[in-house]
């Protein structure tokens, strides 16, 4: 197990280097940079040389390979650079923003698991009954409705109908836990409900498959209660692909948070990423992508390792 883990971690290094190359390269391939933005309203009379001097001053004029090597060395040292706009350290900015996204994602995941697994199991054990049809229809609706539509509806309609709206001034959990949950709850619910729809469908499918297995028939033949068969034998095995899906959904949650955080005015990583891209704040874009990328790699490792727990037949050598 240890050797497998070490091998996997070493195997992640090339992935990380490619990831770093991609983030440094791709953001610079976008047309326009901070110099163009700074001189947006006076650019017609600024010479190319003057723009170059400004680019040098801002530290974005070096050749791409130099910037890449410099960035990789910085990441190794834990230095993600400074924002081009306000010169604040990127690490500090990400640490300010990450807890907001993490909180929303955590609540969304908890909510989705709590909702989806019972729904998936009930749907499977009541296959082709009205309950199954109803739950599947709800799941499909949850998948079909785009997050931003649900989010906008939550934000706008209560204001129009009752003059009330979700609070827009973010309050940190440490400042006021109740207020924090009031603010974070709706966006987490929007993300969580959609995620739960996906997981519920996956749970139903895998449960149906597992319920056809011989060992389930054997368990029943031994006289185990229906609950015991479902929870101790069927569900545990059915959860393996569900756990994989959950791991993959982490990236989806960060991606989904880009729009959700904007609509609910949450100062999270998703909003930071989109703001930084539009402002061509290269160090921040790189920092966020690297952090999220590393997080996804780490999550996948944890998911792989968790298989052994969920299915004792799986052993790593």
């Amino acid at each position: 197990m240890l050797r497998y883990t070490v091998r996997r971690v070493i195997g992640m290094i090339p992935t990380a280097l490619v990831l770093l190359l991609m983030v440094v390269l791709l953001i610079r391939l976008l047309p326009g940079n901070i110099v163009d933005l700074l001189l947006q309203d006076s650019g017609a009379s600024v010479s190319a040389e003057a723009k170059e001097r400004l680019a040098e001053h801002l530290g974005i004029a070096d050749p791409l390979p130099v910037q890449y090597v410099s960035y990789v060395l910085g990441v190794v040292r834990g230095d993600l650079g400074k924002s081009l706009w306000d010169q604040r350290p990127v690490t500090k900015i990400i640490l300010e923003r990450a807890p907001v996204t993490a909180e929303v994602a955590l609540i969304a995941i908890i909510l989705s698991v709590v909702l989806s697994i019972p729904v998936g199991v009930i749907s499977a054990i009541r296959q082709d009954t009205p309950i199954d049809y109803t739950l599947r229809s709800i799941s499909i609706l949850g998948i079909s409705l785009p997050n931003f539509v649900v989010a906008q509806a939550i934000v706008i309609f209560p204001a129009i109908w009752w003059g009330k709206s979700v609070p827009f001034t973010y309050t940190h959990f440490k400042e006021d836990p109740i207020q924090n949950l009031i603010i974070v709850g709706p966006p987490a619910a929007v993300l969580g409900i959609r995620l739960s729809a996906t997981i519920a469908r996956m749970t139903r499918t895998t449960m149906l498959e597992v319920m056809q297995q011989d060992y389930i028939r054997t368990a029943r033949a031994k006289g185990l209660s229906g609950y015991g068969v479902i929870v101790r034998h069927a569900l545990k095995n059915a959860l393996i692909p569900v756990v994989t899906l959950l791991g993959l959904q982490l990236a989806f949650l960060v991606g989904g948070s880009v729009i959700i955080e904007s609509i609910f005015a949450l100062p999270g990583l998703g909003r930071l990423l989109i703001e930084s891209i539009t402002q061509r704040d290269y160090p921040i874009v790189q920092g966020v992508v690297v952090v999220v990328g590393f997080l996804v790699m780490f999550t996948n490792l944890v998911v792989d390792l968790s298989y052994a727990y969920l299915d004792p037949r799986i052993r790593y050598s």
Binding site: L30, P31, G32, N33, D36, L37, L38, L39, Q40, D41, S42, G43, A44, S45, V46, A50, K51, R53, L54, H57, S83, W85, D86, Q87, R88, I93, E96, R97, Q152, V155, I156, P158, A159, I160, G163, K164, S165, V166, P167, F168, T169, Y170, S262, I263, F264, A265, P267, R271, L272, E275, I277, T278, Q279, R280
Partner: protein, 595 residues
């Protein structure tokens, strides 16, 4: 107008102005004369040695600072009630301020709340008005005198600790705005984006505690109005030693002091007890909370989480009016002119007749109403509120802009196209670059629709850049054929003309080059007699329409705001020259809750 351009906006705004050079003015024909009184209004003292006509940009009867006379104006109601000091005024923004050095910042900074400008413009007349500078005088064609108001206290934060803002501070600001400290600070000169507003300035020196003497390299008519540029907010001179990394260490002398800065969450400003305008500010606190989504901002206003909402679309207005009939609506002529700017070196646009045919053909009412509904203002060359510009009544009679002569104008347009060898629009193929906001897209779509219906042989496509940085690069590189965009009016018509149409103009994106244009603008810049200056600019506008047409004006936007019904005072800040579209929240010190 997109929400970003209002004070709710993020880290960018419109209007960077670069003027080419200073030029003559100031002496009023009294070459070498002693001090000429020209500022101060009711506070004006006998600084002048003899009476003189007011100089351009330096009127003799500028008003003293203070709340302008209250009067109802169309679209600008005066909310009745006694001021009730205290409370918090909350506004939304799409992002907290990212840059904290006012002199090098692209647009909005904390200094728009914590600082002040040397001089202001009267919101309706556009006349220069005293502010931190209480008097301004032209001592000679190349020497100007500024008198700093006594008792302007800085915020009580180290190292300023509530000291007086004085002439040394002002001189330091002017020197730095002009980019003269660039080498010393190792900052590229280009970074000092408002240097051109003080073009022609050789040096600024503090003569005593309250007097700054400006020595010009060459006389300029635009210096005083240049000081009113909305991003020429002043800072205490210590800030450069403090550094601009942490805004919480910075302190100004405006109505509010920054007391909380949570990046991209909120900024909180607290009342400055020693503010020089006695009795102000009324609010105890001012907050800018970040609400990036436009629909969410509407909800925030309806649910009373914010005190003001600025929005442009007819749908916004309808939604808010229905949900909050008690809110007070303000609507008046704004400062942004929307236009279609052809690249004058591109294809058919090299021909005046093609450009003119387009100007004559358009239905401006359909374009203006399309996005804003009623409330927009016609314009032909310059903002009609400039004293030297064609007023609205004249614009409405001009070919192309006069709805009653539209058929005749279109016949004339067809003739022009035919004379240019482009009958029915044949060979007039171009792509419209649109800035990334709905209003530019809607303007472009209507423009395209109208022209292709009138001239089926014209081929017009639309290019939508994915974001503002992409657009900025294309525009800056002049890599477009025609662009749909807006510009915020400069405080002075000559500054505006130079930046837009001079061959070396900072915003001459359409690459317009014409010796006569340059000559007239240079002459106007140096013309000291207001009447003669106006005459030049009137001739300029005639030539613009009849010989040049380097750009097609569409309309001036309406400024639209909703305030909660228990807030008054905004009527003193509203007006075309109030530039409320920018985040000039130091004027929020003049607003208050009513009992």
């Amino acid at each position: 107008m997109d929400r970003d351009s209002y004070w709710f906006g993020a880290s960018r705004a419109y209007g960077r102005r670069r003027v080419l050079r200073g030029a003559v003015v100031g002496g009023l024909g009294l070459a070498g004369a002693a001090l000429i009184g020209c500022g101060g209004g009711e506070e004006k003292e006998a600084v002048a040695t003899k009476p003189a006509a007011p100089a351009a940009g330096s009127p003799a009867a500028a008003a003293a600072p203070g709340t302008p006379a209250r009067q109802e104006r169309p679209g600008v109601p005066v909310v009745k009630g006694n001021p009730k000091p205290g409370g918090t005024f909350t506004t939304s923004t799409t992002a907290t301020f990212a840059q904290h050095d006012m002199h090098t910042a692209l647009a909005g900074t904390i200094w728009h709340v914590t600082g002040e400008r040397a001089l202001e413009l009267d919101e309706w007349s556009g006349e220069v008005r005293a502010n931190v500078v209480e008097k301004w005088e032209t001592a000679s064609p190349t020497q100007l005198i500024l008198k700093v108001r006594p008792g302007v206290k800085t915020h009580n934060r180290a190292p300023m600790n509530g000291r007086d803002f004085d002439a040394e501070d002002l001189a330091w600001n002017l020197t730095r705005i002009a980019g003269q400290t660039a080498d010393k600070e190792k900052i590229p000169l280009t970074a000092f984006q408002r240097a051109s507003t003080l073009a022609g300035m050789d040096r600024a020196e503090a003569v005593d505690k309250s007097t700054v003497r400006i020595t010009m390299k060459e006389p300029t008519s635009t210096f005083f109005k240049g000081l009113t540029e909305i991003r020429n907010q002043l800072m205490p001179k210590e800030v450069v030693e403090i550094g601009f990394g942490d805004p919480m260490k910075l302190a100004g002398f405006g109505p509010f002091m920054l007391t909380e800065f949570q990046p991209n969450v909120r900024e909180t400003y607290t009342k400055h007890e020693g503010y020089y305008r006695k009795g102000e500010p009324y609010f105890d606190k001012l907050q800018r909370i970040v609400v990036p989504d436009a629909a969410a901002a509407v909800s925030a206003f309806i649910s009373k989480q914010i005190s003001v909402y600025g929005g442009g679309t007819a749908q916004d207005i309808k939604t808010i009016k229905a949900a909050r009939p008690d809110a007070v609506q303000y609507e008046y002529t704004g400062a942004n002119w929307f236009h279609m700017r052809p690249h004058t070196k591109f294809g058919a646009f090299t021909d005046f007749r093609v450009r003119k045919a387009i100007q004559l053909s358009l239905n401006y009412q359909e374009i203006g109403d399309g996005y804003y509904g009623p409330g927009w203002t016609p314009t032909a060359v310059f903002h009609p509120n400039y004293p030297e510009a064609f007023p609205v009544d004249k614009v409405k009679t001009l070919p192309g802009y006069n709805p009653s002569t539209k058929e005749k104008d279109r016949q004339e347009a067809s003739k022009l196209l035919a004379a240019a060898g482009r009958t029915g629009g044949e060979g007039v193929d171009f792509e419209i670059l649109i800035a990334p906001a709905d209003v530019y897209k809607e303007n472009a779509l209507r423009f395209q629709d109208q022209l292709t219906k009138l001239y089926p042989k014209m081929k017009i496509t639309i290019k939508t850049p994915p974001d503002n940085a992409t657009y900025a690069k294309l525009q800056s590189d002049r890599n477009f054929q025609i662009v749909s965009y807006t510009i915020t009016t400069l405080p002075d018509i000559v500054l505006e003309g130079i930046s837009q149409y001079h061959s070396k103009g900072s915003r001459n994106y359409g690459a317009w080059e014409n010796a006569e244009t340059d000559r007239m603008l240079d002459k106007a810049l140096g013309e000291v007699d207001p009447k003669a200056r106006k005459e030049i600019m009137l001739q300029f506008q005639e030539k613009f329409l009849n010989e040049w047409q380097p750009l097609v004006q569409l309309y001036i936007d309406p400024e639209r705001y909703f305030f909660q019904g228990n807030i008054s005072g905004f009527d003193t800040s509203a007006g075309p020259w109030g530039f409320t579209g920018y985040r000039i929240l130091n004027k929020a010190g003049r607003w208050y809750y009513v009992s």
